[in-house]
Symmetry: C2
């Protein structure tokens, strides 16, 4: 089973690495990190380098495709090669998935036209603007399209995906293997749960960083 | 505030990337990925490449040091340069932390002699053998040493660490930024919660893979 994870400059690392850590444990899974050219890309903050091992041309088909997010989604959405690749792999994929603002990239490729999907909580308007139907949920599954909420939601999505592909027991084994028994020290993971002044501060910071990269 | 995250061949990516995604959001944090030599290392399954940006010699001091785990910990523990570096940075660090089997590497460097610490649930015996006092807990804090349980526990640890350094509200803002409101589709994240046959299967698989790399 071939799994393609898209990498692009200024992505958010955990969007890709959370699901990777789960999906790589599915027996028979062959994961590839793909991008416009081989070699290193840097994350949203430039702090971390990740390696693209295969070009988009080298991987025109995948059983599962996963598109992460990050501020770089805007630039990636302007790249005709990326958009064409998403359309092409999606046409034959068994599952097309995204994490965080990765769904905006799917939407930019037309994959989410009129489809219910989620994204990072601060990008719902943008998702609507790109033709999708923003829908609350940590994971939104509509046929073969699975979208996850912001950043860390990719771990939950990948476990659901592992269960769909390889059964509940295998998903439980993976959960145990990565000791995924979360105990966040705070309960502020969504705008509904976080204090309003924190929601405002985070949204302002995201908008400012996003604007500086546009 | 300088933060050093150790990278070594055959590490488990999420051990490092989970905390990175949290710690990089602390205002004033300067993260560096360090290793024995600059350039690419590959993860435990060889599927992903991550970039070492600074050598150990180039970063002899850090306010926060984070040591991830992964099957490669055994080889890393045999490298005198890695052991010497851990001792050196720990001597002057504000916080020394580990995720998963990263604590075995700390222990191999003598940092955990007689100290209560945790690790991945299947490596408690090994942690004791290396001189630490294995202690249950998703996060075990003893003075400036913070150890986390397996793989995904690094996210919880990093949030606790962010709170300690920059206050609860900042940690909540980071949690909201990465939308960390976990909803695992199963409840099998610890040996106590997973069905016994799954615990046995995962342990057998870990031992077999670990042995094949020893």
């Amino acid at each position: 089973m071939k799994i393609a994870i898209l990498l692009f400059d200024r992505l958010t690392a955990l969007d890709a690495i959370g699901p990777y850590e789960v999906l790589a444990r599915i027996p028979g899974a062959e994961l590839s990190f793909v991008g416009t050219k081989r070699g290193e890309i840097r994350t949203d903050n430039r702090v971390l380098g990740l390696t693209v091992d295969r070009t988009l041309d080298e991987m025109p088909r995948a059983d599962i495709v996963l598109v992460p997010g990050g501020f770089g989604w805007r630039e990636a959405a302007k790249d005709p090669a990326v958009i064409a690749w998403i359309r092409q792999v999606h046409a034959e994929s068994r599952i097309t998935s995204s994490v965080c603002t990765g769904s905006l990239l799917l939407a930019a490729a037309g994959v989410l036209d009129g489809v219910q999907a989620t994204t990072h909580w601060s990008y719902f308007d943008e998702l609507a603007r790109l033709g999708a139907v923003p829908t609350q949920g940590r994971i939104v599954e509509r046929g073969k399209i699975i979208t996850a909420a912001g950043v860390s939601a990719g771990i939950d999505m990948a476990l659901a995906l592992a269960a769909r592909i390889a059964g509940d027991d295998l998903a439980r084994a993976i959960q145990l293997g990565i000791e995924y028994d979360p105990e966040p020290p705070f309960d502020a993971g969504t705008p509904a749960k976080a204090p309003p002044h924190i929601v405002e501060a985070v949204q302002a910071r995201l908008r400012s960083r996003d604007a500086s990269l546009s």
